[in-house]
Amino acid sequence: MQVNNTEFKPKIVAFCCNWCSYAGADLAGTNRLQYPADVKIIRVPCSCRVNPIFILRAFQRGADGVILCGCHPGDCHYTTGNYYARRRMTLLFSMLDYLGIEKERTRVEWVSAAEGAKFAATMNEFVQTVTKLGRNRKLEDLRCRK
C-alpha cells in the first residue's frame, strides 16, 4: 500500500432506473446542477434489476459507496419493481450492517424524473458521507487493489 497524500476521492457507483432516476440525473445535468465526478451512473431498466451481487461486486472492485435510485414507490414504470427492490435492499443493507460493514456506504433513494435537484443533492450528500467514511476496506478484494 503506498501512502497517498492527495485528498481521498471515493468511488461511487449509482444504479439508476431508466424511467425515473436516470431521467432525474439527466434533468440535473440539463439544469447544470453540480455533483462530484466521483459518482458514476449505471443505467438499469428498473431498480428491481439490481442484484445484490452487483452491489457486492462493486465493493469488491474497489467502490467506496453504492447507491440505488429508482422511481418513487407506486410510480414504478413496471408497477411493482421498486417494491421488490425495496425489500431486497432493506434486507441486504441490514445484513451488511450486521456483518459490521458501514451501512452508510449503501443507500436507496427514490428520485423521479422531475427531481433533478433531488438527484444532485442526494449525490452531493452521499459523496460527502462516503468521503467521511474513507476508503472501503471491509468489503474489498485485496487482489483488485492497485
Binding site: 449505471i42 438499469v44 434489476r49 408497477t79 411493482t80 421488490y84
Partner: protein, 663 residues
C-alpha cells in the same frame, strides 16, 4: 471478441467545453476490443451519423460506443444509424458524457477522467452485447369486453365503431349492469334508463358486436394480440334464437315466489323471467333454483305456452372458445354486504335500506311503481335519514379503507328528489365530509342544501334502533353543534360502500392482471397509463379499476376502447427484444420469477432432459413469453440460480460496467 468503434461527440461546446474529447477518444482507443476511435462536432448530425456508418463498414465493427448526450435523447437515433449500416441496432451503447459529465462538472481534468471511465464502462458492456432481433407476433383483430355494464357497453360500441369485431361477455341474463337499476342520474337528474337503453339496443343491433349474456369467462390463455378465451354459456333453458321475448311464459309460470333480484328482492318475480322490459337480449331465462320442472320434473307450463317452442329443459352449460387480440375488463362493482353493521339495524328492520334499494323504490318500474313507500308497511315515510360512508373510509376492518366516491352525489340526488316529490318529508343526511369534485357537482349539492332544505349534519350515526311503533330511532352526533342528536325516522337509507364484483379476483388470476388488496385492477401507470393493466393486452374500463361515477366511467371506457383500437389496428406487434430469458439448464422450476413478474410473462412446463447414463429427467422449467415481457428484470434477481437473465442488461454486462467503473 468484438470489433468496437468509439465515437466521441463534442456536442458543439456542450461537451467539448469541459471534456477533452480528443483525449477521451485517444484513451479509449487502447481498450480491449476497440479497433477504431474518433471524435466529431455533432455525432447526431447527418455528417456525424455518416462517420459512424462508414466506420462500421470500413472496420467491420461489431459494436459501437457513442460518447454523447443521454441515451434517452439519441439512443434511438444511433441505433437506426447502426442499423442502416448493417449493424444490429442493439450493438450500440451510449456513454452519457453530457448530462452526466460536461454539464455538471466544471473541472476539465475531472470531467475528462470521468468521461473516459464512462466510455470504458460502455465498451465493457458492448463487448458482451449480443445482436438482438425483436420478435413479432400477429394480432387477432377481435376484442373481448368482460362485463356488459355502461363501461363495457361504451367500450364495445367505440371499438365496433372503429370497425373491429368485439364480444361482450355478461354474467347476467341482460347487459346494462348497475345503471339499469338506477332511477335518475346526478347532476342532471335525467332518467338512467332513457340514456342507457338506447346504447343497449345499439349494442344488440351492431353487427360487429356479439353479446354473450348469462355467460362467464372460464379460461384465458395466450398473450397480447393472441388470447384464447373459453366462455361458459350458462344454461338458461331457453333457446335464445327462438325466444321472441313475448313474455307469455313469465306471466303464466306458476312459481310466483321468487325474490326479484333486479329489484334487490324488494318484490317477487316468476321462476322464468326477463329481468326488465328493456332487457338486451330480450330473452327469458329459467331460474333453476326455483323452477318446479327443473327441480322435480313437475310443471312444464312455460313450454306449453311458448309459441316459439323456445323452452329447453335439457339445456346444458356450453363452452365456446374464441381468439382475441385484446381484452377489456369492465366487471364493475356491487354495494358491500351490510350484515356486519348491526348498529344500523339493516338486518333487523325492513325500513333500513341501501341507496340502491332506494333507487328501485323510487323507480317507476320498481316494486311500488315509483311511489316511495316504506317496505315494511307500505306507508309514506315522513322522516328519512341518510347515513353516509357506511363501510367507506373505514379502518375498522368491517368496511373498505377507500372512499366510494359516488355516495355523496347520489345521496344529494336522492334527498333532492324526495324533497321535490314529497315536500312534507324531512330529510337528514349524516356525513363525514361532503365530497363534490366534479363538473356541476358542488352546485348540485348546494342546491340540495339551499333550495331543497335538506338537513346536512356533519357527524356519524351511532345507532339505529327499531322502535315498537315501527319508527326508527336514529342516534347520532352533530359535530358542528357539538351535540348528540336523536331523530325518529321512518326510513333510514345507508350509503353502502362499493366494492369490485366478486368475479374480479378469479378473473384477475386468469388474466394474470395484477390487482390491489381491495381487488381493484391495477393500472399500468397510475397517471400515464390509467386504462391499461400492466399485463399487455389487458385494458381496464369502469369501476373495476377504482370507484368512479358514470361520466368518468364512460370517458374511461372510451379511452380503453381507443387503446384497444390502437392495438388492433396493428397487423403485427413488435416485441421489445430486451426481455428476460430463462436458461433451462439452470432453471430449478421454483416459481420465484413467476411470482414477481407483473405481466404474467413467465410460464412453467415440464420438459424432458437428458440425464446421466442415458436416462431421461423430467424437470419443471420456466419460459418467458417475449411478447408479454416488458423487460423490468424483477425475475432475474428473484432467481437464485441465475437462470433468468435480461437481454440487453445481462448480469455479465452490468457486472462488466461495474468492473470498468471501479477499475
Amino acid at each position: 471478441m468484438q470489433r468496437i468503434g468509439v465515437f466521441v461527440c463534442h456536442c458543439g461546446t456542450n461537451i467539448a467545453g469541459t471534456v477533452d474529447v480528443k483525449a477521451v477518444a485517444e484513451a479509449l482507443k487502447s481498450e480491449p476490443g476497440v479497433v477504431f476511435s474518433t471524435e466529431y462536432q455533432y455525432m447526431c448530425s447527418e455528417a456525424g451519423q455518416n462517420i459512424i456508418k462508414n466506420a462500421i463498414r470500413e472496420h467491420q465493427l461489431t459494436g459501437v460506443v457513442i460518447c454523447s448526450c443521454s441515451p434517452r435523447m439519441h439512443e434511438a437515433t444511433f441505433r437506426k444509424t447502426a442499423s442502416a449500416a448493417g449493424l444490429n441496432p442493439y450493438m450500440v451503447e451510449i456513454a452519457n458524457i453530457r448530462e452526466q459529465v460536461s454539464w455538471i462538472h466544471k473541472d476539465m481534468k475531472a470531467g475528462t477522467e470521468k468521461a473516459i471511465i464512462l466510455g470504458r464502462a460502455a465498451i465493457a458492456k458492448v463487448s458482451l452485447n449480443a445482436p438482438l432481433i425483436p420478435g413479432e407476433s400477429p394480432v387477432v383483430k377481435r376484442a373481448l369486453v368482460i362485463g356488459g355494464g355502461i363501461a363495457g357497453i361504451q367500450t364495445a360500441l367505440d371499438i365496433a365503431d372503429a370497425g373491429f369485431e368485439v364480444d361482450i361477455v355478461e354474467k347476467e341474463p341482460t347487459i346494462g349492469g348497475k345503471m339499469t337499476q338506477l332511477d335518475k342520474t346526478f347532476p342532471t337528474l335525467d332518467c338512467a334508463a332513457c340514456i342507457l337503453t338506447p346504447k343497449m339496443v345499439d349494442c344488440a343491433q351492431n353487427e360487429k358486436i356479439r353479446i354473450y349474456s348469462y355467460s362467464e369467462v372460464s379460461e384465458v390463455k395466450g398473450f397480447v394480440g393472441n388470447f384464447t378465451v373459453t366462455i361458459k354459456k350458462k344454461a338458461r333453458y331457453v333457446d335464445e334464437l327462438k325466444c321472441t321475448g313475448c313474455g307469455e311464459c313469465t306471466e303464466k309460470c306458476p312459481q310466483k315466489k321468487v325474490p326479484n333480484a333486479f329489484n334487490l328482492g324488494l318484490d317477487n318475480r316468476r321462476a322464468i323471467y326477463i329481468p326488465f322490459a328493456q332487457a338486451v337480449p330480450k330473452v327469458a331465462t329459467i331460474d333453476a333454483d326455483y323452477c318446479n320442472m327443473l327441480k322435480n320434473g313437475k310443471c312444464g307450463v312455460c313450454a306449453k305456452v311458448c309459441g316459439a317452442g323456445a323452452i329447453d329443459y335439457k339445456q346444458k352449460d356450453s363452452f365456446i372458445e374464441e381468439r382475441y387480440g385484446a381484452i377489456v375488463v369492465a366487471t364493475g362493482f356491487n354495494p358491500i354486504k351490510l350484515d356486519a353493521y348491526e348498529e344500523y339495524g339493516y338486518k333487523q328492520s325492513k325500513d333500513v335500506i341501501t341507496s340502491l334499494e332506494l333507487e328501485r323504490l323510487m323507480n317507476a318500474a320498481g316494486p311500488n311503481g315509483g311511489t316511495l313507500l316504506r317496505p315494511s308497511d307500505k306507508t309514506h315515510p315522513h322522516t328519512i335519514v341518510f347515513v353516509q360512508c357506511v363501510g367507506s373510509r373505514c379502518d375498522d376492518g368491517k368496511g373498505k379503507s377507500y372512499c366510494s366516491k359516488i355516495c355523496c352525489m347520489y345521496t344529494a340526488k336522492h334527498a333532492m328528489l324526495i324533497r321535490e316529490k314529497y315536500p312534507d318529508t324531512e330529510v337528514y343526511v349524516f356525513y363525514i365530509d361532503v365530497r363534490t369534485p366534479g363538473k356541476n357537482f358542488d352546485e348540485f349539492y348546494r342546491r340540495a342544501v339551499e333550495e331543497y332544505g335538506v338537513h346536512y349534519i356533519k357527524g356519524m350515526v351511532g345507532k339505529v334502533a327499531p322502535q315498537p311503533d315501527g319508527k326508527l330511532l336514529v342516534q347520532g352526533s352533530d359535530l358542528l353543534a357539538d351535540e348528540q342528536l336523536r331523530v325518529e325516522a321512518d326510513l333510514v337509507v345507508l350509503a353502502a360502500a362499493i366494492e369490485p364484483d366478486k368475479t374480479a379476483r378469479s378473473l384477475g388470476t386468469m388474466l394474470t392482471a395484477s390487482m390491489d388488496t381491495n381487488d381493484f385492477f391495477t393500472e399500468a401507470h397510475p397517471k400515464l397509463r390509467p386504462v391499461e393493466s400492466p399485463t399487455a393486452g389487458i385494458f381496464l374500463s369502469g369501476v373495476c379499476q377504482g370507484p368512479k361515477d358514470i361520466p368518468e366511467t364512460v370517458s374511461q371506457a372510451g379511452a380503453a376502447a381507443s387503446k384497444v383500437i390502437g392495438l388492433l389496428a396493428k397487423d403485427k406487434l413488435t416485441c421489445n427484444p430486451c426481455v428476460a430469458h430463462s436458461d433451462e439448464m439452470l432453471c430449478n422450476g421454483c416459481s420465484a420469477c413467476e411470482k414477481v413478474c407483473p405481466y404474467g410473462a413467465i410460464t412453467y412446463s415440464d420438459k424432458e432432459f437428458r440425464g446421466p447414463n442415458r436416462t431421461t429427467l423430467i424437470r419443471r422449467v420456466a419460459s418467458v413469453n417475449d411478447a408479454v415481457c416488458q423487460g423490468c428484470g424483477a425475475c432475474t434477481v428473484a432467481c437464485p440460480s441465475g437462470a433468468m437473465d435480461l437481454k440487453g442488461f445481462s448480469n455479465s454486462q452490468i457486472m462488466a460496467e461495474v468492473d470498468a467503473i471501479c477499475k
